[in-house]
Symmetry: C2
Subunit: 234 residues, 2 copies
């Protein structure tokens, strides 16, 4: 926001300080984790009295919420940028690019990834305000699914079509045109991507994988192919 007549010096200072608070908290996150996050430590970092922070943040949990929203938004923006860049490409490249964009962000910000997709913080319940931010990445992926062609193998019959009812909430969320087999395979592929990322970032592939970024290439290509989301172009 450019400085405008309606924004007083106070309002400007306020915005900057909130940004500084969240930035400091985010740094802390990488060292002590979300549970260790401390209002007092942020205050120390900014050379303020700890009580001063309460002019900007209602509570420790509120600070955590700000952090979560900011991080979801950052990841969402990454995904959306990636979507915009390859809007005209075929589904194969869109899939691979999106997967790599998400992984690239996650590898660059492992603690942020862990906050979003790792263990929920005990005693903390994310307020509804986090939902729109959380939905951004997912929406990008769902739009990709909607672009999958009619005759794609992703649409071949499911093993257990009788169980599609368990997916009711998801079908409502997706554009009406996306068929159920594609939705199911999409969710499975998406789960596999995050499972792969969590395995990598949380250390469960130690010793098994020698080159993680090559493995990611292998994995994303194979997931796209085996679920039929992408089709070999040869």
């Amino acid at each position: 926001m450019p400085p405008s007549a309606s924004r007083t010096a106070r309002a400007i200072a306020r915005e900057q300080l909130i940004a500084a608070i969240v930035a400091s908290a985010r740094e802390q996150l990488g060292v002590v984790g979300p549970v260790g996050l401390s209002v007092r430590a942020v205050a120390r970092d900014l050379n303020m009295a700890s009580s001063a922070l309460y002019r900007y943040v209602a509570s420790r949990d509120d600070l955590l919420t700000l952090l979560i929203v900011q991080i979801y938004d950052e990841l969402g923006a990454v995904a959306e940028a990636c979507e915009a860049e390859c809007a005209d490409a075929d589904v194969s490249t869109r899939w691979l690019t999106l997967c790599h964009a998400v992984r690239g962000w996650a590898v660059a910000h492992p603690h942020d990834y862990a906050l979003l997709y790792g263990t929920p913080v005990p005693g903390y319940a994310a307020p509804a305000a986090t939902i729109p931010a959380a939905t951004r990445v997912t929406s990008v992926f769902v739009r990709l699914l909607a672009a999958i062609p009619e005759d794609s193998p992703a649409g071949r019959p499911l093993e257990r079509p009788d169980l599609v009812g368990s997916i009711a909430g998801l079908t409502a969320f997706a554009p009406g045109t996306t068929r159920e087999p594609v939705l199911v395979r999409g969710l499975l592929a998406w789960s596999a991507v995050f499972g792969t990322l969590s395995f990598e970032l949380f250390g469960h592939l130690e010793g098994a994988i020698t080159d993680y970024s090559r493995y990611a290439d292998l994995a994303f290509a194979q997931l796209g192919a085996d679920f039929g989301l992408t089709v070999a172009t040869t």
Copy 2:
């Protein structure tokens, strides 16, 4: 262990107390999470002075290690029991049974699952002593892969055979007979299962899935089929 001549009253008491300590810590885990785990709280729970615990446990981190090993072992035992039960079954049922066994355990012990497969505890480095316990579940799955027949679609060529090198550590871990395409697809399927479980247990499917256990049926069957680990029997 039955009471024997060589086990003095002290040794018996010691074992039971360690068991009680870990049990109490495990209960705490569900409430405050691994980071909130407290030696003093365990001592209170057992009506002991907090200093007394240091006769049994070297430090807070050591307590965490005991917990992790016990939990990995428990999950490993579940998987091995499942393996023993359907030793004579075909790969399809072995796959489905194993997936459901793992999920059943995870749903029954979500906090334990989170400790093993969620965010690593900041500042805690799991000692090598945890490795054998951690390997048990995985080994069960790798043995299942080894049982996949020669002509299975899981063995069809990979999308990116040029990248199989990134998997070097894994091929060493698996029995020599298991071919690379099967190994890769197996790892991806395994990652997808844990991705699915994490999504479910960490709340990322809220609103999307209406019946989680039916969805699990759907998901495991579809994963098995699309990766070619299992083959439709009709």
